[in-house]
């Protein structure tokens, strides 16, 4: 199989410069005074946290740690290390009481529902802190998980600004190392930590390095699925990933509004969010 990992190499200095400017300038024009970011102890949120600290100054960044009773203690410890290293302000809000209150009414809820409830509970905490502090919620989703739909709609995908959503997982790792995220956090197995023993790659059924290369070809280089198979990817794997991307498009676009009038939001009412600024 051809090795496309080299195609995923980024100039981390250049990328860091652009993302730091992005955060600084885009947050300034909202009129909000800093960033709120949910820090889980994983590489994505660690990177977002470090970038925010560099862009805005650590005193303008609030890292919110939101463990649930089954969260791995290692995750919390790693999150606390990120807060310490980046110098940002930290706040720990355990989401267990919020989640348990709802689950008490629906004890039959399965693992997926429980996981989504937790992700959305975290969203509530972050947005409330955003209002309390006058800071924007900065996202932590990467390009791989967004394309695969490995996110909770209005949960971890909810944010005001996302600096790393155009970087594949492999590239997030490169950048994280370059900005000073400790290697043990960069290298550990990614997990949503929504139940014990959960790992992203276990759930997806393939590794990030494998799928990053495939997505790079399909999305960035516009290869057809057949061309990917020719390049050496397993046919079933290609099929599975293509389907996953298509089926998760609903998580990446706003909900359709039925068009009735001559000018409809989402179709012909077109302005950037930066309108006027």
């Amino acid at each position: 199989m051809h090795d496309f990992l080299s195609s995923l190499q980024i100039d981390t200095g250049l990328v860091r410069k652009i993302l730091v400017s992005f955060l600084c300038q885009e947050i300034e024009r909202t009129g909000l005074d800093g960033a709120v970011v949910g820090v889980s102890g994983g590489v994505d949120s660690s990177l977002s946290c470090f970038l925010c600290a560099q862009a805005l100054g650590p005193q303008k960044v609030l890292a919110v740690l939101m463990p649930y009773r089954t969260s791995s203690p290692d995750s919390l410890r790693d999150a606390e290390e990120i807060v310490r290293l980046s110098g940002v302000r930290g706040l720990t809000v355990e989401i267990t009481p919020m989640v348990e209150a709802l689950l008490a009414k629906f004890p039959e809820a399965d693992q997926r529902r429980r996981g989504n409830i937790m992700a959305r509970a975290r969203m509530i905490v972050l947005y409330d802190q955003s209002a309390a502090q006058g800071k924007i919620v900065v996202g932590t989703g990467n390009k791989t998980e967004i394309l695969l739909g490995y996110t909770t709609l209005y949960g971890d995908s909810a944010c005001g600004l996302n600096p790393i959503g155009d970087l594949y997982k492999n590239q997030v790792r490169q950048l994280a190392r370059a900005v000073g995220v400790p290697d043990h956090i960069v290298a550990k197995a990614p997990t949503a930590d929504l139940w014990q023993g959960q790992t992203d790659e276990g759930e997806l059924g393939f590794t990030y390095d494998q799928v990053d290369q495939l997505l790079y070809l399909l999305v960035d280089e516009r290869y057809s699925p057949a061309e990917c198979v020719e390049a050496g990817f397993d046919r079933a794997f290609v099929g599975k990933v293509v389907e996953r991307v298509r089926q998760s498009q609903f998580k990446r676009v706003p909900a359709p509004i039925a068009k009735l009038s001559n000018r409809t939001i989402g179709y012909d009412f077109l302005y950037l969010r930066d309108w006027g600024t």
Partner: protein
């Protein structure tokens, strides 16, 4: 021999020359690599005046702004609300024309014509006059670009005269096609002025974004192939998630880069164009002299007459 030698050094003094020769030989230029407010013309106009005055203080006599410098780039439905007319009694242009008494300006704006079509346009202003207006011909409408949805396409590519000689003005996608610069060259332009709002993209070159690398190559190629000056001002800043990469450049008729502004930062870059370089380069490399325009026209007409695919005439 001695007389010929003296002639070369003393030209312009000892011998009569065609009128155009007595034009200016040094062009003190400023590249106004700025960010904009999206849809706020008054705010952007103020910035133009500040930069023009600063450029003047630094000895510039011509200041080149980016594409849509008066309005911002991703306008979408704002396009029809930020338009102006490049005439004396337009509230925006009256201010700019007053400023053009002290320094020549090339500004980017949305033009609304008499029939209410909207164009992405650039205007060259000098000594209280609108010397030339270029309406962007090629409107990228693919990928992230949607210009064709909101704007009409210009239908002219013309050189124009200034006190430094004949120039051409193009906007972004116009110079992503070889044809407009080529036409301007044939129409007598020795200095090509490019304005753009180019979004930064492509991570797979080292040290620069792919879009920056591509545009710089292309600008250098035009300067080299046409043995002309190419001056390019690109926008900086952000509009939602789009970054604008700056990296404005000037290339001389040898294809050498004589200036480059920083990437991703606002700057006012002063560069003096030594117009004598045109003489030196073209004496060594007479590509312009040898260009066979009639052949080009003849062959194009043949291709067109043959019609149909695979050629590009309908």
């Amino acid at each position: 021999m001695a007389v010929a030698f003296a002639f070369n050094f003393a030209r312009g003094i000892a011998q009569p020359h065609p009128p155009w020769y007595h034009g200016r030989v040094r062009l003190p230029l400023a590249l106004a690599q700025m960010s904009t407010l999206l849809g706020n013309v008054a705010g952007n106009l103020e910035k133009h005046i500040q930069l023009a005055r600063e450029a003047r203080r630094q000895g510039a006599e011509l200041i080149l702004f980016p594409e849509l410098s008066l309005t911002g780039y991703v306008l979408q439905d704002l396009a029809s609300t930020v338009a102006c007319r490049p005439v004396e009694d337009d509230p925006v242009f009256s201010v700019l024309l007053r400023e053009s008494m002290s320094i020549d300006l090339v500004v980017g704006f949305v033009e609304e014509d008499r029939r209410n079509r909207f164009f992405i346009a650039g205007a060259y202003l000098s000594r209280g006059q609108v010397v030339h207006v270029h309406r962007k011909v090629y409107l990228p409408t693919y990928g992230l670009f949607d210009e064709g949805r909101f704007f009409a396409s210009g239908d002219q590519v013309r050189a124009f005269d200034t006190r430094w000689g004949r120039m051409g003005l193009l906007i972004c996608e116009d110079f992503w096609h070889a044809s407009p610069p080529y036409l301007l060259w044939l129409d007598g332009a020795d200095i090509l002025l490019f304005m753009s709002s180019s979004p930064g993209r492509g991570l797979y070159q080292e040290g620069v974004l792919e879009s920056a690398w591509w545009v710089e190559q292309v600008n250098q190629s035009y300067a080299s192939l046409f043995t002309s000056f190419v001056a390019h001002t690109n926008k900086v800043g952000f509009e939602d998630g789009l970054n604008f990469w700056g990296g404005s450049t000037v290339f001389d008729p040898n294809g050498r880069r004589v200036a480059r502004a920083p990437f991703h930062e606002e700057s006012l870059t002063r560069v003096d164009l030594d117009l004598n370089q045109l003489h030196r380069t073209r004496a060594r490399l007479p590509l312009l002299r040898d260009e066979r325009t009639e052949l080009v026209l003849r062959e194009l007409q043949r291709v067109r007459a043959q019609g149909g695919p695979p050629n590009n005439f309908g």
